[in-house]
Amino acid sequence: MKFRRLSLIFFLLFSLSCSAQQDFYQLVRAQLGLGNYFEPSNTVFFEQALKEEGLLKAVLATSDRVVRNSQVGAAQSPFLCSDGKIHENIFGPVPEPLKQQHFELDSFLPKGSSRPLGADAAFIDYLLGNSLSSDAVYYLFGSAFEASDSLDFYKGLALYTANSLEQAVDYFDRVPDTSSYFEKSLFFSTVCDAYLGRFQQARSRLQSYSGSWQELCQYELAALSLLEDDAHAYRQAAANFSYSSYALADGEKLFDDIYRSRYESRKKSPALAAAASAIVPGLGKIYSKCYGEAFASFLCIGATAAIAADNCIKRGPQDWRSIVFTTIGALLYVGNIYGSYVSVGLYNNYLENAQDNTIVFNIHIPVRSLFP
C-alpha cells in the first residue's frame, strides 16, 4: 500500500516536472514518436484559452486538441498548412502573415541635377519586367528626377512589385485625379489595400471613382463586399457584371460561386455535430469532414473507456486507478463533444479564409492584365 502511494506521488511529481521543464517534455514526446502538428503548442494554447475563455472551456478545448495532435488526428486534415502544421489558436485559424518588404527610403539622397523621368521610363519598365523591382526602387529613389505624376506612379509601382504595399499606397495616393496615371494608381492602391486588409479605405476610394472603367470598379467592389461579408452590397455590385470581358469574366463567375456557397447553400449545424459525437465519439467530426480527427477520437475514447470499465469491474469503482481512467475517459468524451461542436465553425472559418485568399488574388489579376 505504501509502495503504491509512493509511486502515485512519484508519478504526479514526474508529470509536474515534465510539464514545467518544456525541453524535457519535448524530449519525452520525441521518444514516444509524437510529432507536433499544431502551432502554437498545446501548452501555449491552454494558457491562452485559460486567459480568454476560463478553466472549463480551456480544459475541454485542450483535451480535444491533444487527441487531434497526433499522426492519425492530423491525417487528411483540411486545416493543414503548407508547412505541415495546423495554425490555430483559441479564436480559430491563424492566417499566415503577409510577407512584406520595407525600404529605408529616407536614406536615399538623390544626386545630380533634376531631370524628367521620361527618358528613363523604358529602363524602369525593363527592371519591372525582369523581376528587378528592388533595383527599380533604388534607381527611382536614388536619382534626382523632377517631381511629376508619372514619377509618383512609377515609385508606387516599383514598391508594389517589390512587395512593399504600405509604402506603395503612399505614392499611388499622390497621383492627382487629373493625371493619365490616375486610374492605374487608383486600382493598384485598391489591390494594395485589399492585401493589407484595409477594405473600408479601398471601398471609399472606388466609390468616389466615376471614370470609364466602371465594370472593373464594380468587380472590385463586389470582391470587397465578399471580404467584408456584406451580401447586400455584393448583389448590388454584381448586378453590373457583364460576364463577357476577357479579363473579368472568370473572376465574376468565381465570385458568384463563392457568394452562393456562403449565402445560399445550407450551413452545417454545430449542435448536430455535437449530438452525433455524443452518440458515437468522432461521428460529429466526420460530419464536419475531419476524418482523421474522427478516427483518432474514436480510438482514444474507446480505449480509455475499455480500460476504465475493466478497472471498475475488476478493482471496483472506489479504486484510484478506476477513478483516474474514468476521469480521463470522461474528459476526452466531453472534450470530443465540445470539439465536434467547435469543428463545424472551425471548418467554415478555414473555408472562408481560403475563399478570402482566392478573392484577394482575383482582385489583383485583372488589374495586372488590364494595366500591364
Partner: protein
C-alpha cells in the same frame, strides 16, 4: 556607343567612390546604375563588365544571393576561359557563404576544379533499425546514450504496466493499455532513432562538404 561607355565609366568611378564611403543606400543605388549600364550595353562584353561591377558592389554589402544572381546573368560565351572559371569560383564562394554546399561543389566542378570530394562513410540505416530492436543499442549507435536511457525507462514502464495489470487480473487494461503504451515507447524509439540517424548523417555530409570547399575556396574566402 560613346554614351554607354561614358555612363559605364561614370558608374565605375562613382561606385568606387561611394563604396569607399560604405553607405548602403548609395551602394544599392550604384548597383542599380550598373543595371542601367547592362540595359544600355551594346555588346555582351560591356554587359558583363557592368554585371561584374554590380556583383562586386553587392558582395561589399554582403548580399550574396543577389550577387550570385548577378553573376548567373553573365554572358558566359563572352568571357575568356580563365574569367569563366573565376566567375564560377566566385559563384561557388557565394553559395558557400549562403551555406548551400551542394551548389558550391557543383559550381567548382563546372569550373573544372577537381575537388576530389568523396562522400564519407555514413551510419547505416539497416544497422540502426536492427540495433533498435534492443532499444538502447540503437541510441548508442547514433551517439545519444542518454536519450537511450530515457527511452529504455519508458519502455520498462510500459512493460511494468502490462505485467502489473495482467497479474492483478485486468486483462483488457493490460493488453489494450500495454499495446498503446508499447506502440508509443517501442515504435517511438524506432522512429526517434531513424530521425537522429538522418540528422547525424546530414551533419556528417555537410561537414565533409564544408571542409572540402574550404580547401579550394580558401584564398577567395581569406579575401573577405
Amino acid at each position: 556607343m560613346r554614351r554607354t561607355t561614358l555612363l559605364f565609366s561614370i558608374s565605375i568611378f562613382l561606385s568606387a567612390a561611394f563604396s569607399l564611403r560604405g553607405q548602403d543606400a548609395d551602394s544599392l543605388y550604384m548597383a542599380s546604375l550598373c543595371e542601367k549600364a547592362v540595359f544600355e550595353a551594346e555588346t555582351p562584353r560591356q554587359a558583363n563588365q557592368a554585371l561584374l561591377e554590380k556583383a562586386r558592389i553587392l558582395h561589399s554589402q554582403q548580399l550574396y544571393r543577389q550577387e550570385m544572381e548577378a553573376l548567373g546573368r553573365l554572358r558566359m560565351f563572352a568571357l575568356r576561359p580563365e574569367q569563366r572559371s573565376e566567375v564560377l569560383q566566385r559563384q561557388a564562394c557565394c553559395a558557400y557563404l549562403l551555406e548551400d554546399y551542394d551548389a558550391a561543389l557543383s559550381f567548382l566542378e563546372e569550373a573544372g576544379v577537381d575537388t576530389g570530394y568523396v562522400q564519407p562513410k555514413l551510419k547505416s540505416e539497416w544497422a540502426a533499425m536492427f540495433l533498435t530492436f534492443l532499444v538502447p543499442a540503437g541510441y548508442v549507435y547514433v551517439d545519444e546514450p542518454w536519450e537511450g536511457l530515457l527511452s529504455t525507462s519508458l519502455n520498462a514502464l510500459s512493460v511494468l504496466w502490462i505485467v502489473s495489470q495482467i497479474s492483478s487480473g485486468c486483462y483488457v487494461s493490460g493488453i489494450l493499455g500495454g499495446a498503446i503504451a508499447l506502440n508509443g515507447t517501442y515504435l517511438g524509439a524506432q522512429k526517434r532513432v531513424a530521425q537522429l540517424l538522418q540528422q547525424r548523417n546530414s551533419e556528417i555530409l555537410k561537414e565533409s562538404k564544408k571542409n572540402c570547399l574550404v580547401h579550394f575556396l580558401g584564398p577567395h574566402l581569406r579575401e573577405e
